[in-house]
C-alpha cells in the first residue's frame, strides 16, 4: 500500500519525489529518486497507508528517457534535470550535496480516502514549454502492470513446454544460456535433441511443471484455473504465472502471463500466437484460440 507511479507512456520514465520527513531540519521534506518505471509498468514509491501519513502534500518530477528526454513539466528550468538519472539519491531538501539541488514541479495533495494512490503518467510535455504534460492521480493501486517477460517461439511443433520454461529462465536470469533443446534433452534423458530437434524422438509433447523445475523456477501448481486477483498478485510481484490450455477434442498447450489490465483482462505470451490481451472469461470459457480452456496454473519464482 502507498503511492505508485504507472507508466502509460511509450518509453521508460524516471521519477523523483519530494515527501514529508519530520527528521529533516529546516524544511521538513526529503527528496529521493530516481525510480525507473518501464513502459506499461508500475512502481511503488512510498510504502505506507496514505490515510495515516503526517502530511498529504508532496511534489514530483518525471522524465522520459534520460536527462534530455521530455518531462512532465515541459520546463527545463526545473533543475531536477541536473540530478544524474542513473544514481539513486535520498536526502533532505536543503541538502544539495552531490549536485542534488532540486526544484520540484508538480505539487499535489493526496486525498486521504484510500490507503493507495497511483499517479498515471500519460503524455509528457513539450521540451521548453512549461506547465505541460498529461497525468492524473487515481485512488487505489495501478490498474495495469506489464512485465518484461516473453515466451519465445517454440522451435519445434511440439515444444511449447520447452519454450515456456526457457522464457521463464531468461526472465529471472537474463544471463541464463539455457535453450529449448537443452530443456528437452534433460526431460527426455537424451543428448541428441540439439543436433536432431525435429526427430520423432525429440519433437514430442511434455510437461511444463517438470521443465520449470529443471530450470529452477517452479513455485507451485494447481490443476485448475486461478482467479484474476491471484494472477494480478503474481504479476505485480514480478513472478509471471504460466498456464496450460486444454483443447476441445484433445491435446494441450502452455502459455505465460506477462501483464494485467483492469476489468479481468490479462496479457498472455504464447510460443505460437505471440502477445494477446484476453479476457479471463475467454480462457476459462473455452474460447482461447477458438477452442482452448485454462486447465492448470503454474506459479513461478
Amino acid at each position: 500500500m502507498g503511492l505508485w507511479y504507472q507508466n502509460s507512456y511509450t518509453d521508460p520514465v524516471y521519477v523523483a519525489i519530494l515527501w514529508f520527513d519530520s527528521g529533516c531540519s529546516g524544511q521538513p521534506w526529503r527528496k529521493s529518486g530516481w525510480y525507473q518505471v518501464a513502459p506499461g509498468s508500475s512502481v511503488e514509491i512510498v510504502g505506507a497507508s496514505l490515510k495515516t501519513i503526517p502530511d498529504s502534500n508532496f511534489a514530483w518530477f518525471a522524465q522520459a528517457d534520460w536527462a534530455d528526454g521530455p518531462c512532465w513539466s515541459g520546463d527545463p528550468a526545473h533543475n531536477w534535470y541536473a540530478i544524474p538519472h542513473n544514481a539513486a539519491f535520498s536526502q533532505c531538501y536543503s541538502d544539495n550535496s552531490g549536485c542534488n539541488a532540486a526544484y520540484p514541479f508538480n505539487a499535489a495533495t493526496l486525498a486521504r480516502s484510500s490507503v493507495d494512490a497511483t499517479v498515471v503518467l500519460l503524455q509528457p510535455g513539450v521540451a521548453g514549454r512549461g506547465f505541460q504534460g498529461c497525468s492524473y492521480v487515481m485512488a487505489g493501486q495501478p490498474t495495469a502492470h506489464l512485465l518484461n517477460f516473453t515466451v519465445p517461439s517454440q522451435l519445434e511443433s511440439l515444444w511449447c513446454w520447452a519454450a515456456v520454461a526457457t522464457g521463464v529462465a531468461h526472465y529471472y536470469n537474463t544471463a541464463s544460456t539455457v535453450t529449448q533443446c537443452q530443456v528437452v534433452n534433460n526431460q527426455l534423458g537424451r543428448t541428441d535433441c540439439c543436433r536432431n530437434p525435429g526427430s520423432s524422438n525429440c519433437n514430442v509433447t511434455g510437461f511444463v511443471d517438470k521443465a520449470l523445475t529443471f530450470v529452477g523456477h517452479l513455485k507451485s501448481e494447481q490443476s485448475s484455473a486461478a482467479t484474476y486477483s491471484a494472477i494480478s498478485e503474481a504479476v505485480i510481484a514480478g513472478t509471471p504465472p504460466c498456464i496450460r490450455i486444454g483443447w476441445s477434442g484433445g491435446g494441450g498447450h502452455f502459455i505465460g502471463f506477462f501483464g494485467i489490465e483492469p476489468t479481468n483482462l490479462v496479457w498472455v505470451t504464447d510460443p505460437i500466437y505471440g502477445q494477446s490481451l484476453v479476457s479471463t472469461a475467454t480462457l476459462t470459457g473455452g474460447t482461447y484460440q477458438g477452442n482452448g480452456t485454462w486447465t492448470n496454473t503454474y506459479f513461478t519464482q
Binding site: 504507472q6 507508466n7 502509460s8 507512456y9 511509450t10 513502459p39 506499461g40 490498474t143 495495469a144 506489464l146 517461439s153 511443433s157 511440439l158 515444444w159 511449447c160 513446454w161 525435429g198 519433437n203 514430442v204 509433447t205 511434455g206 510437461f207 511444463v208 511443471d209 490443476s223 496450460r244 490450455i245 483443447w247 476441445s248 477434442g249 484433445g250 491435446g251 494441450g252 498447450h253 502452455f254 501483464g259 489490465e261 483492469p262 476489468t263 483482462l265 496479457w267 505460437i272 500466437y273 505471440g274 502477445q275 494477446s276 490481451l277 484476453v278 479476457s279 472469461a281 475467454t282 474460447t287 482461447y288 484460440q289 477458438g290 477452442n291 482452448g292 486447465t295 492448470n296
Partner: protein, 202 residues
C-alpha cells in the same frame, strides 16, 4: 481468383466498439501497438471499420484423427484485422447468439491474413474463374492455421491453403482439397492423441 470480402455480423462489430474505453486505456496496447492506439484516440469509430474481418473455424484433434469432413468444423469467432504498416492488430469476438470480446492480438508471429489472402490471390492463377469466400481454419492442438477458401457457389470444390509455419506433413501455401488436407494431418493427430495425458502440452 476473386475473393469475396466477408461481411461481419453487426453484433460482432458492436461488441468490439463497446471495448473502446478499455482498449484506449490499455497501457499494453499503447506500448505494443502505438499506431493502433493512436488511431483509437484520433478516430474512435475506426474500431467499427476493420481492414478485414473473417470467420474463424476450429476443428478438434479427435475429428482430424477420425478423418472428419471440414463440414464438422465449428464457427468459433470473427476476427477483425487492423493494419498500419508493419503493425497488425487482430481483435476477436466469439461467434454465436451472445458474442463477447475474446481478446486482441498485438504481436503475432505470423503474416496478417490480409497479406496471406493477397498472396493467395496472386499465386492462384489456376483458380482464376472461381469465386471464394475466405475463412481461417485453426486446428489449434496441432498449431495449424489455414486459409479455407469456401467456393461460391458452394457446389464447386473448396480449397485449403496451410499457412506457415506448418508442422511435418503439411506444406505451407500448397493448395489442398479438404480431404487431402485432413488426410495429411491425420497421422499427427493420431500420434498426439495416443500420447495425450492430463498436464501435457505441445
Amino acid at each position: 481468383m476473386p475473393i469475396e470480402r466477408p461481411q461481419p455480423p453487426q453484433p460482432s462489430i458492436d461488441v468490439l466498439q463497446a471495448m473502446l474505453p478499455a482498449l484506449m486505456g490499455s497501457a499494453g496496447i499503447r506500448h505494443s501497438a502505438p499506431k493502433f492506439a493512436a488511431s483509437l484516440v484520433n478516430s474512435p469509430r475506426s474500431l467499427s471499420s476493420p481492414g478485414l474481418s473473417y470467420p474463424v473455424y476450429t476443428l478438434g484433434l479427435d475429428s482430424v484423427a477420425a478423418g472428419a469432413r471440414l463440414s464438422k468444423a465449428k464457427l468459433a469467432a470473427w476476427r477483425h484485422e487492423f493494419s498500419s504498416g508493419e503493425e497488425v492488430v487482430a481483435a476477436e469476438v466469439s461467434a454465436g447468439r451472445q458474442p463477447r470480446f475474446n481478446g486482441i492480438n498485438v504481436h503475432s508471429r505470423f503474416r496478417s491474413v490480409s497479406e496471406e489472402l493477397r498472396s493467395a490471390a496472386e499465386t492462384s492463377k489456376g483458380l482464376a474463374d472461381q469465386s471464394y469466400q475466405p475463412r481461417l481454419l485453426q486446428i489449434s492442438a496441432l498449431g495449424v492455421r489455414a486459409l479455407w477458401l469456401k467456393s461460391q457457389p458452394p457446389s464447386r470444390a473448396d480449397v485449403v491453403i496451410p499457412l506457415a509455419p506448418t508442422p511435418p506433413g503439411l506444406t505451407a501455401n500448397r493448395h489442398y482439397s479438404p480431404a487431402e488436407f485432413i488426410e495429411a494431418l491425420r497421422p499427427a493427430a493420431e500420434a498426439l492423441l495416443r500420447t495425450d495425458a492430463p498436464g501435457k502440452g505441445a
